[in-house]
Symmetry: C2
Subunit: 658 residues, 2 copies
């Protein structure tokens, strides 16, 4: 039975939840397929996540391997294939708790970087799981800056082998997933040396464990890097190589080859390789970043509709905490952000599909723009969504702090997305570098990529809004975001030029502008997100109920951004103090409006109780019952040896003294 | 041997680290005592935290009980007493990983709320550990709002007993520390009923486990609430009471008594009780909030001095990440905040000691101010320090995400401080209520408490700064903070009055202002913190080296607050756009200045390697060596059953198909 406090929230929905779900999925047919996958996975006890919050790192790893192996069988049974429409829903249905993710990266890297011969040899072996692969790039002392990697691969003409070594401790491979315990092979990135000359970083296939008994191969030291903030199920590993010899054929050689006589040959274009790295940043947004925020919103908003605390009006019963303005101000902007980022993700996916088609036609013109956008949006979306999950966690008070709420693990997992696949600050600076370049070009009248043409038009001006209702006009706020983006890029470009003209070296000047460059890159991405949300809402015209609520969310997302960052808009007087008060008034009004549909808006995300795995967030809102039932299953309710060892002697010794 | 990249940072210190440590401790003699305590604890293997990151919740609990029991012995051995100068350093030296914290709260509540007779009976039993106590206030469905508690205690005249019950699931006691597994007794807060009439919440001593075999007493259901984000060592518990009978004498009766005939008598003043709750909020700041931030700064700054990444200048070796402006902008404001909050904590401690002396003389005049300040500062300091620890964690990239860095556990632990002892938003609204009241009084010419006299003086004006150097004047920035605090309180007071005059009920109007009231309360505390830091620096005049660097930190703290919150200062033009650019310039300049002393400034916190328990933060900076050594000890490097069960069949089945 559904908690009446939650049931009442659903009766007053202003729109069709089912239609909104279909919109999010990209059509009712996709919703159907997704639900079928979810049902098949969740009804299979092997995939159960029931005891997850009670498991040790070792148990989590074992479960992830079990699920990965069982998944092979399941896919066969269900007729799911890697190219079928079901595939993209499997990982989400498993909530990512499955091993051999890096095995797929191993395969992808061979497909992209390997010669036809290498692909023909290794891909079938990997597909049939005759080996388990990993991808060993990052080192203890080296991450983002690939040129700094220290692992060496020296070509030995005599034996036609590469000799791989870890010359010092900072060169140990560190972090590769699936490598700590599972992998038999890995792609090692190392500095290639021929006749004592360094040719830079190249990829090599290295076997690290026996296919017979899983023991480490000669010269290999490898293991697990130990406990992390999350990803307990992944065996992130270390790898130390000591005179490990591999045949010449194991250097992945689509773009570069070492001939038997030691001649180094570079062939083809590496640009497509560069593009692969940028697509990974876009592909992770949906499952790794948006889904956790949507889950956190679902949990926190449902909980806030059943939790009652203090009295809002004297004489009445305690109020739902969702009725407090401060609680709305915490949660509803996160809900709006989840929708905003869902739509910008659609936009980015489309852009990248188009880019990929162009690149296949060997047109590389879009690459700089795609790289800049993938970097900036990866950083901005992971940052916002991580902050959003944390806000949801805190907004649930003590119960949010219990692992049983599901929120701590959502938070500790999404946090990693700010670091992996490019640390966010470094990525934002890449976006900034692109923006500065485009800004200079645009101001010099040269052509610039489509997403930054707005930089060409200098618009000092003032915001024309005259009332708080004017700030519910997308033109008004989109223009304001654009203005701020241009101002920040323009003023930082000026500072950079001034510093260089005052005699500073270019790299010193750049470093002294980086704090402001990061701000400019963020403002740019924020502007594009608001603009895209507004344009998406515009196109929803026929579906009235849904367009109305999406318009409210778009307004909220935009006004929350201004309200939280007033200085950027006030700085040059584009928005005046009086107008800022209107923004605040409109923003606070919107909270009360959206609050009415808050529960239906999270219901539309369509998470099952199994996938939320939260005592606070279940569809029926029976929070206290579930917390109590789950707590009783905790291993901390077993008898502890601490009683016999310490408590009993303490209590009894003193008793005997009486 | 110390990593040369770290050693070089220490050679150029502009001040005496030892003198700064003494300043932080409150004198060289206190430093000596603290170090003696730390040494005694850390040299005792029973207190070791070495394997902490590898332990399960059950193991952590057992270790905490072991330490708590051993501590009794240790204190006896060392001659440490609860009133001695060493006592305050013990808990910090143990990093809080010790059981029976709630036993102390149990004792304190009896001392404060119990009659002389009750104190005489229970305190000796508790002191000698003939029982282990807990404190059962919070319920599954009830936290901050004490009147909402649902547990009942019905007086039965016939037997002269109270009958305690948990009438429904939301009334279960939930969260009390030491209660899940250890406690034999607890203080239960319950609604008192006599002859069917409710007299509100009262405290009762209830035995929950047998002193002989630790089994649950009749009518008691109790256990552990399961895994949390941290505090694995604490057995936070649940408690369900079914017709549990306790003698009439077990109601703590200093202030209220139930006579044998059922007459209810209220006696004495409860105001001192109210004061006890506010002092707890202040007392937790030092160990629970400041220490974690100082540790996080130590770890992240030392690591940033040895981690090299990318090239700042072409042709040179990779740069220390501490040399990047963006890294400085992440870490150095947190360092400044740690000092700022250290000094405001001193200020608050003094204020509360004075308040306590007044209250002992039955002068309760300071109570509202002390309550407002303790609420606001608890919220502001826990919020800032939690955010600061998170920034330090993220600033260490992947390695910060490893539990071995020590940063994840610092973060997941400090996060709880935003929730416990009063949820932060609720506390800020209490401060706001006080500020609004004082503002109205001040504007009406009535007297107000000393900390808010500034509210009386309306100062529209403009900031007089003319150059970026002017913003290094404490008068300039303190005045700016004061201006913003007054403006936010004043504008919210106006909004509140307008809403009420427009016909809204007072409670509705209040709810509609709460987002802004929270901002006003934060601005007030921020102002007081800046003012106090500036005044503290002023008094350091004789110790030149230290005053100079503290002045820089004070400037940085103040300017960072403006830079991060420009809108508040720009809104009414108090600071102009041109002046804000000066703030930014001064702020960024300061980063480069303080960067030079960053390592000595964290060295002054004087944490031992044992207390940091961090592979990244050790004094010698041998980061990679330590990460590798520690990872090898992880239980995830044991053989996993996953190989025999799943991996081997997978690899071998397919091998056999060939």
């Amino acid at each position: 039975s559904v908690n009446p406090d939650l049931a009442s929230e659903r009766q007053t929905a202003s729109f069709s939840v089912e239609k909104l779900t279909a919109l999010l999925d990209g059509g009712a047919e996709k919703t159907r397929i997704r639900r079928a996958v979810v049902k098949a996975i969740e009804s299979d006890p092997v995939f159960s996540r029931e005891n997850q919050y009670f498991q040790t790192q070792n148990e989590r790893y074992e479960a992830a391997v079990r699920k990965a192996v069982h998944l092979q069988k399941k896919m066969h049974e269900m007729g799911w294939t890697e190219n079928g429409p079901e595939y993209k829903y499997i990982y989400r249905a498993l909530s990512g708790d499955v091993a051999f993710q890096l095995h797929r990266v191993f395969m992808r890297s061979i497909s992209v970087l390997g010669s036809d011969k290498q692909i023909a040899k290794w891909i079938p072996l990997a597909t049939q799981h005759q080996l388990i692969g990993s991808y060993a790039q990052t080192e203890l002392g080296h991450g983002t800056y690939l040129q700094g990697l220290e692992t060496t691969a020296v070509f030995d003409i005599a034996t036609q082998e590469f000799i791989l070594n870890t010359p010092k401790i900072s060169a140990m491979k560190w972090w590769p997933g699936d490598m700590g315990r599972s992998a038999t092979h890995t792609v090692v990135f190392a500095q290639l040396y021929i006749h004592g000359k360094c040719y830079g970083i190249h990829p090599f296939i290295v076997q690290i464990r026996s296919l017979q008994d899983h023991s480490l191969c000669p010269g290999i030291t490898a293991g697990d890097i130990g406990p992390k903030m999350n990803f307990e199920h992944v065996d992130n590993g270390y790898l130390l190589l000591k005179n490990v010899r591999i045949p010449r054929e194991n250097m992945l050689s689509k773009f570069c080859e070492v001939r038997p006589d030691g001649t180094y040959v570079r062939q083809g274009s590496q640009k497509i390789n560069y593009f692969t790295m940028t697509t990974v940043r876009i592909s992770l947004i949906s499952d790794e970043v948006l889904t956790p925020l949507m889950k956190a919103c679902t949990i926190a908003i449902r909980y806030s509709a059943v939790r009652r605390q203090s009295k809002l009006k004297p004489g009445e019963q305690e109020a739902k905490i969702l009725d407090y303005q401060t609680q709305q101000e915490k949660l509803l902007p996160q809900l709006a952000a989840a929708y905003a980022f869902h739509f910008i993700n659609d936009y980015l996916q489309e852009l990248f599909d188009r880019g990929y088609r162009e690149i296949q036609r060997t047109n590389f013109d879009m690459l700089p723009e795609l790289h800049a956008l993938s970097s900036g949006f990866k950083a901005v979306i992971t940052h916002h969504c991580t902050a959003g999950v944390e806000i949801c966690l805190r907004a649930c008070g003590g119960h949010g702090y219990s692992l049983l709420s599901g929120l701590p693990s959502l938070y500790t997992k999404i946090l990693a997305s700010c670091i992996y696949e490019g640390e966010n600050t470094i990525l934002l600076l890449q976006t900034a570098r692109f923006l500065i370049k485009c800004f200079m070009a645009a101001r010099a009248g040269q052509p610039v990529p489509p997403s930054v043409t707005f930089l060409a038009a200098a618009k000092p001006g003032k915001c024309p809004a005259k009332s708080k209702l004017d700030f519910l006009s997308p033109d008004i706020y989109t223009e304001a975001y654009q203005h701020v983006a241009v101002r920040l890029i323009s003023s930082t470009a000026s500072k950079l030029q001034d510093l260089i003209q005052s005699g500073l070296k270019k790299y010193d000047a750049w470093n002294q502008c980086t704090v402001q460059l990061v701000q400019a890159a963020k403002a740019h991405c924020h502007y594009i997100t608001v603009k895209n949300f507004a344009e998406t809402v515009e196109k929803l015209e026929t579906k009235a109920g849904i367009q109305r609520i999406m318009k409210h969310l778009c307004d909220l997302f935009a006004l929350h951004g201004i309200f939280s960052n007033t200085g950027a808009f006030l700085h040059d007087g584009y928005i005046s103090a009086a107008q800022m008060d209107m923004v605040t008034a409109s923003y606070l009004d919107l909270l009360a409006v959206i609050r009415k549909d808050a529960v239906p808006l999270v219901d539309a995300f369509d998470f099952t109780d199994e996938s939320l795995n939260s005592a606070l967030g279940s569809y029926d809102g029976q929070v206290y019952q579930r917390l109590y039932e789950w707590a009783q299953k905790s291993p901390t309710n077993e008898m502890s040896p601490a009683y016999e060892k310490y408590l009993k002697p303490l209590l009894h010794n003193t008793l005997s003294k009486l």
